[in-house]
Symmetry: C2
Subunit: 270 residues, 2 copies
Amino acid sequence: MKVSFQGEPGAYSEQAVFTYYGEVETVPCESFDAMFDSVASGKSDFALAPIENSLAGSIHQNYDLLLQHDLHIIGEYLLRVQHCLITMPGVNKSEIKKAISHPQALGQCAAYLRNLEIKPEPVYDTAGSVKMLKESGARDTAAIASRRAAEIYEMQIIEEGIEDNAENYTRFLAIGRESVIPTNEAKTSIVFTLKNQPGSLFKAISVFALRDIDLTKIESRPLQGKPWEYLFYIDFIGSMHDDVSIHALEHLGEYALTLRVLGSYPRFSK
Amino acid sequence: MKVSFQGEPGAYSEQAVFTYYGEVETVPCESFDAMFDSVASGKSDFALAPIENSLAGSIHQNYDLLLQHDLHIIGEYLLRVQHCLITMPGVNKSEIKKAISHPQALGQCAAYLRNLEIKPEPVYDTAGSVKMLKESGARDTAAIASRRAAEIYEMQIIEEGIEDNAENYTRFLAIGRESVIPTNEAKTSIVFTLKNQPGSLFKAISVFALRDIDLTKIESRPLQGKPWEYLFYIDFIGSMHDDVSIHALEHLGEYALTLRVLGSYPRFSK
């Protein structure tokens, strides 16, 4: 089984693939586009796409790619992002003068680095920073990346979980060519567009409220170039194969300008 | 007047500051935290914070920082992100073999680069890539960054607007220590929390629908560690000083667990 992810070997996305799928063959992809293409073309079986981060927000680009491809959401996974301080083997914490990583990871460890008087220095990627450090062999430098990146490059983890805010989660969606019929508790993701007029969202979500369907995500997105239309993303508890969800979706379909079900899939539980 | 932005000189955020505020003194900040602190401490007068991008989504971190500080939203600005292909002076397009920039910018120009057989090479920052190129003096390399970055470093713009998707906008919020009372068409941004139960959002937004108040943004965010509470961001047309908005907010305050008005400000118009 081959599973695509975006990034370099050792990226947090790759770590998520191994936790979610077990020991599969991973296919690193340069971009989200390439990741979706790899599944669509059959080069890989599945992809695990980050869709939202608790600090950084939703990744609209992956919603766009879901709409552009005839692929289905077949699962979800929640990864707690735990940054590691990584050095060459044998280095002591007190020797570290600077830390290299992606600017976002450096920002998420800013207070930790300040306390230790370690100077942050941005590079393009978290896993890439470990590779760079190994190549340079520098003893005064640490990289900030995933546990897996440290293991791949056989480097030393000085400390794990150095992020300032522990509530750092990334939600991933598993993407495949065939839809699934979830048997246990399910979630369904939909995208729809509405006319931009007062009360339109209120009317749209009445189809869920009237049926006591629980929403777990809602997000609006203005359609640039179409100032009178809005795109909405909603996740709700239930499967598109349940009677009550079928009725709610039919009801929404009457009112929405467009509606697409991206998939029903087993809800993530720890 | 001093206005803070996050990034290096020549960043898209700095370009937004000059377009929105005119010729002011800009204060580059390493992180969003530092940017908010600079306004709170009086080191600068205002900040211009990116809050959402049409391709990348909302920047939750800046919502968090708004909640952590006693600051107000006093304006908004929409920047169309136009990437430039930048080289050393006198270089021809045909000489370019590789392009350096932030991975997100490279990703947004992927098809353009592929067509010209230019190899993307990620670095940590867009404006930083122009600085690096100038220092190296390489003639086979281009940087991808803003027009302003090219101007600061006196480099040549080979082509402007090379992004694959022209619908690439970033919305910025102007942040200040004192709130404003908008006189023309206004927008108001609020954050509130609700109990996670079916129909709770439907009830909450009824306070706007019943008064024909137009929502321009809605986004939910699960509160990690509090699985039974959700945070919501809503922007609506109107000022918190209008009677109808005052009633809607009072009405919402009865039902929501918490409610904070982040500011009322003039709506952006081109």
